[in-house]
Symmetry: D2
Subunit: 133 residues, 4 copies
């Protein structure tokens, strides 16, 4: 299983008045993790009018283990756990140093942008994302 | 079990370039649902420096059943499914008309704002939110 | 000059770790003000694929006079200050009670969704928004 | 006058259903530009409870010259145009390649986090940000 790594810092607008990262903000980091994992495959996620694949989200689970604060340096580990006929299961871990602060799972489905019907995941995606040979 | 209802419209900034509600945007609607459910109890969630209770989120699950579009009128049904010693399990359904577009569950924990230690949920919260007598 | 009024409460996700409304958050409230002003005209702003008019923003000025806090009740006063051949100048005031906390001006241009060329503002918009007879 | 450069890509959540960057999204990029400019001075902006300086925004002007699209690589040029007794005037340019898509100006004021009173800008900030010797 391949691990894809992205880095960022908690932006000020991602915090809330409790002084920590707002619970919706990690979703942005997950989406960047997915985008960069797919980019290593030469595939663009999102905005099909500009050549991206449509991978609507069908399920998200997020666990908040430790708070993240403004300006914290984070590393997002993205891995593909399973690929079904038309679906991809992603697993994310957001670290500050060695502390895992947020974990998440996201299921997306590959669809035809016009008909919205599920499409089979190409074999090369499977091989690349799962690190199979 | 009591049901709390809130209404809104999908804001333009909550959509994305795939033309539908961005997957992070419903979290705002859930948070408003929780806020208004708690308000019926005379309790304010968030920003303890201004008298609110701190109820950090520990777990979120979101399922996206049907896309929501800009300007769609939505109704959020919020109910409390279970109250543990220090935790509350919320269940949300986001409707457009009679179609349930997003369902979600969120677990929050009542903590002391200074020590961050879990606090017991007051009995009156339990009675009110679960609709027990 | 007509005044259009919309009401909301500051959402938790709109605050930041300084404890107040984040400086980007009022833009959402302005956009709702514009949307509801245009709705009184029977016109939908945004998402032309679903029948809305495209009114891209070309200029925004925002002045932050007083901080807004989580859960504050706000009222947004929206008025159209001037209509050019293809452009509309909006003026916004965001109040908490009798205190004006944010004022803003926004210039938008009516464009053809396909060619992106400016289109003349219809006369009925002018009459309605400026309150002329 | 010193120029500070930051780079990013347009995130999917920053776009809207018109297919382009939402008009509120560049504010995030400005804030990162300011943060990184201040970091070169050894100063942290935001969240005074964690050692940051409070620099509330008092005025923002944003001009949208060309649309930005999902996944566009952007470079933000940040420079300090003027420093008053307690205020800093920033000027930002957001480029995609050689095209300037958004320009902005932002005035912030240095305040005491407790009294909220304006504080004099330290001389070393002035020298560093304006590039004076």
């Amino acid at each position: 299983m391949r691990i894809f790594r992205t880095r960022d810092r908690v932006a000020f607008g991602d915090t809330d008045a409790s002084g920590i990262l707002h619970f919706a903000a990690p979703l942005r980091y997950l989406e960047v993790g997915e985008r960069e994992a797919m980019r290593t495959l030469g595939v663009r996620v999102g905005d099909f009018r500009r050549g991206g694949y449509e991978l609507p989200r069908v399920r998200l689970t997020c666990e908040y283990h430790h708070p993240l604060y403004y300006d914290d340096e984070i590393e997002v580990l993205t891995r593909c756990e399973r690929i079904g006929r038309s679906s991809i299961n992603w697993r994310f871990e957001i670290y500050r140093g060695s502390v895992v602060c947020v974990t998440a799972e996201m299921t997306v489905v590959l669809v035809d942008s016009v008909t919205r019907r599920p499409l089979p995941i190409p074999d090369e995606w499977r091989a690349h994302l799962l690190g199979e040979h």
